[in-house]
């Protein structure tokens, strides 16, 4: 957007401008990096973090110092893996062992990789991966073990997908495939993060028992991205929407993008939105287990963005024509709201659940199921932050039953208050008069200002003269 265009946009969306200003002015990070105390390799790691991540760089750098470096490095390692997996110029014979053995390379001092194609956007990270390795060696052992374990699993998962010709040609088939794919892309990262949070005692250890909550966090984010990016992926000839779902609405994948099938395409997208919304209550439940403000912000911001994005893509025909994104103003407001506490994040979820339900169309085969799912989010929020208290309601009933006497009492109270005011007023006026105030002048003045009796006769006479 050009500056003029932006100015016009914000002139008509003052609330968004307000959110942006509020975020810039009032957001005070819980923790801040201190670059003056950082080593050269640490600085280098943050440089690559800022270079490779659009959404996570800021929140990672505000993390509790205990987890700042481990999470930053965890991110860079996974980004490194991703850069190899994404690169279609690397032959599969070379790619597979690279992916499966990445956890070994990241332990070799000075290891770098410069065989990425020139267009691979994050190739610099791997060219300077030795800096990451230096820092990885300094990470506390328990944290390092977690990073390594997830790297092994992720590397093998990516290698399996790279070898899976069926997946590469046809894309995702069943809903189970779809969820497995989301597990590899996001669920595993979530697993690593939860283990880091619990190990550092910044989250409730129960989260390790309920790993399904962690899985929901990842699934919710990834599914939202997949729904939003459908057009971009289609242009890239990649398909992540499961055939099991879209084949109910159109015969051929490309039909989904044809204007004459728009209504069917929307219904298909709403089935996927419904599928993603099923994780929302578990995400809130997960966030209730976080004990540190900076970690809370770190997990809550992407979740709030995700539910807002789901609302944006829901029944939005634009997703089949171009990339859609939440506006900067909305993003700032969401960040403000996601850096407070669970209650505020619950309000965000409820607000967007209601907006989704308002856009729901009764002709959509998923209509009632979506309504039920939005309601379920609301009901879940009620279960953690109840609006009503049965004890108070019972007490209220008793009060109402005694209301007969209460009204009498209330009238008496009001009357006595009025009486007291009148007495005090009279006393004050009387005292003033007694002390020599010229009250008659005051009343004359009052009289005048009301079109007083002194002038009246003259004006009446004047009229008669006419």
């Amino acid at each position: 957007m050009g500056v003029a265009k932006q100015a016009i946009y914000y002139a008509f969306h003052p609330n968004e401008l307000r959110s942006i200003i509020q975020w810039k002015v009032w957001h005070e990070p819980v923790h801040k990096r201190d670059p003056s105390k950082e080593t050269a390799t640490e600085k280098s790691c943050f440089h690559y973090l800022n270079m490779t991540s659009r959404s996570f760089a800021a929140v990672i750098q505000e993390l509790n110092p205990e987890l700042l470096m481990p999470v930053c490095l965890f991110y860079l390692v996974l980004r490194g893996l991703d850069t190899i997996e994404d690169d279609m110029t690397i032959d599969i014979k070379e790619k597979e062992p690279l992916l499966r053995n990445f956890h070994k390379y990241m332990e070799q001092d000075g290891w770098t990789f410069d065989k990425n194609g020139p267009n691979e956007k994050d190739r610099d990270l791997l060219v300077h991966f030795d800096d990451v390795i230096v820092e990885l060696k300094k990470v506390k052992k328990p944290y390092y073990e977690i990073i390594k374990d997830i790297t092994v699993k992720m590397g093998n998962g990516m290698a399996d997908y790279a070898l899976n010709a069926e997946h590469n040609i046809n894309g995702v088939n069943t809903i189970a495939d779809y969820e497995l794919y989301c597990h590899y892309v996001a669920g595993l990262v979530g697993e690593g993060l939860t283990r880091l949070f619990v190990k550092s005692e910044l989250a409730n250890p129960q989260l390790l028992v309920r790993m399904d909550l962690t899985e929901s966090m990842g699934q919710f984010l990834q599914k939202t991205n997949i729904i939003r990016d459908v057009h971009e992926d289609w242009l890239d000839k990649r398909r992540f929407w499961p055939k099991e779902v879209w084949s109910k609405y159109v015969d051929k994948w490309d039909d989904l993008f044809a204007p004459e099938h728009r209504e069917k395409a929307l219904q298909c997208s709403s089935e996927l939105v419904l599928n993603a919304l099923k994780h929302a209550d578990e995400c809130l439940f997960y966030m209730a287990g976080i004990r540190d403000q900076s970690v809370f912000n770190f997990v809550a911001i992407p979740q709030s963005m995700a539910i807002a994005t789901l609302e944006l893509v829901f029944r939005n025909p634009d997703i089949f024509e171009r990339n859609v994104k939440i506006t900067k103003g909305d993003a700032c407001r969401l960040m403000l709201e996601s850096t407070q506490n669970l209650r505020v994040v619950c309000d965000v979820f409820r607000r967007y659940a209601r907006r989704i339900h308002k856009k729901n169309d009764p002709r959509d085969p998923n209509f009632l199921a979506i309504s039920m799912q939005c309601a379920k989010i609301e009901q879940f929020i009620e279960s953690i932050f109840p609006t009503q208290d049965p004890k108070k309601i019972a007490a209220g009933q008793k009060q109402v039953n005694e209301a007969g006497m209460d009204t009498g009492d209330a009238i008496l109270l009001v009357l006595s208050a009025v009486f007291t005011l009148v007495v005090i007023g009279l006393l004050m006026v009387g005292t003033a008069w007694f002390l020599g105030a010229h009250l008659n002048k005051f009343f004359d003045g009052l009289d005048n200002s009301l079109g007083g009796s002194v002038k009246k006769p003259t004006s009446v006479l004047g009229h008669e003269e006419l």
């Binding site: 209601r354 339900h357 308002k358 729901n360 169309d361 009764p362 002709r363 209509f367 009632l368 199921a369 309504s371 039920m372 939005c374 309601a375 379920k376 609301e378 009901q379 009620e382 279960s383 109840p386 609006t387 009503q388 049965p390 004890k391 309601i393 019972a394 009933q397 109402v400 039953n401």
Partner: protein
Amino acid sequence: MVSEKKPELGSVMVIGGCGFLGHHVVRLLLRDYTCAVSVVDLRCTRNRRPDSDGVVYYEADITDVDKLESVFAKAKPDVVIHTASPAPQANDSVSHALFKKVNVDGTAAVIKACQHTGVKALVYTSSASVISDNKSDLINADERWPMVRGKDQTEYYSETKAAAEELVLAANRAPESPTFLTCAIRPSGIMGEGDTMQLYHMINVYRQGRTNVQIGDNDNLFDFTYVENVAHAHLLAARALLITAASKTVPLDHERVDGEAFFITNDSPVYFWDYARAIWAAAGCPHGTEHVRVLPRSVGLLLGALSEAFCWAIGKPPTFTRQRIIYACMTRYYDISKAKKRLGYKPLVSLDEGIRRAVKWALEQEQNKQ
């Protein structure tokens, strides 16, 4: 349920077994349980099972104590499911008298008959409205919420259901019959095949082309329950009472079923107007929401008052009333954790499937009439 052995319920009597809920209870008993079934109803012609099912029908008025006890002596039930209640449609003194007679006096007579003939367990169909004052919201309410009684209860029907529920629960392990166990089921917004009220009314709104008005912002959640799920909850409760009766120890407080009331819903509240729109869509309504005009609640109340005044002037009972507006804008949904934990209740049929079945049935009825 198919591969497992069906649970035993002994001899089961369904009072009101030809009614809307009652005949579904009978159907589920035959489908899911091993038991002998008898039915008591005022008239046993409608919703009757084929003779091959072996259900024994007795015509009796439950307010007739002597007749009722003679039926009990013949049928010898182990369990009684008491679903009988007049339709809560009218709100005049004649129907008030009927509510009192059937719901309160009739239930008292059923309790007596049970106690005199050695019945082990009684499950009573109460109503989720017993905690509603018909104007305040109920947000995720559960069994801790107090009943609304006396002059606070503006619906006399609910008052009589609450009074009857109290009688039933007071009879649990009562001194005059210490082994007799009772509980109450409080369903919210029952709908399904055989529903001649709620569903019928909703479809009527569509037939008259009045789907274009929405009163209130439609953020209010409501619990509607498919009838088969309600029937299922009754039978889970019956089974739990029989198991309690057979065991020598009194169950712990947090797991007891006897002497307790349970809210039953589909465990999926929905936005009030979404429910209506789902029914209209199932009935063939071709509209989305573009044609809908939203009236604020206050405007609705004003129109309701005008309609009431107008109908009063021409001496007709009003159909469009302020109370209707209040209901349409009220939040009323329940937390059914207690039923899930203690009865092992889970809805058998989802709400959308329930709506599909119910509307299909209603449309078939319409066609049969033509």
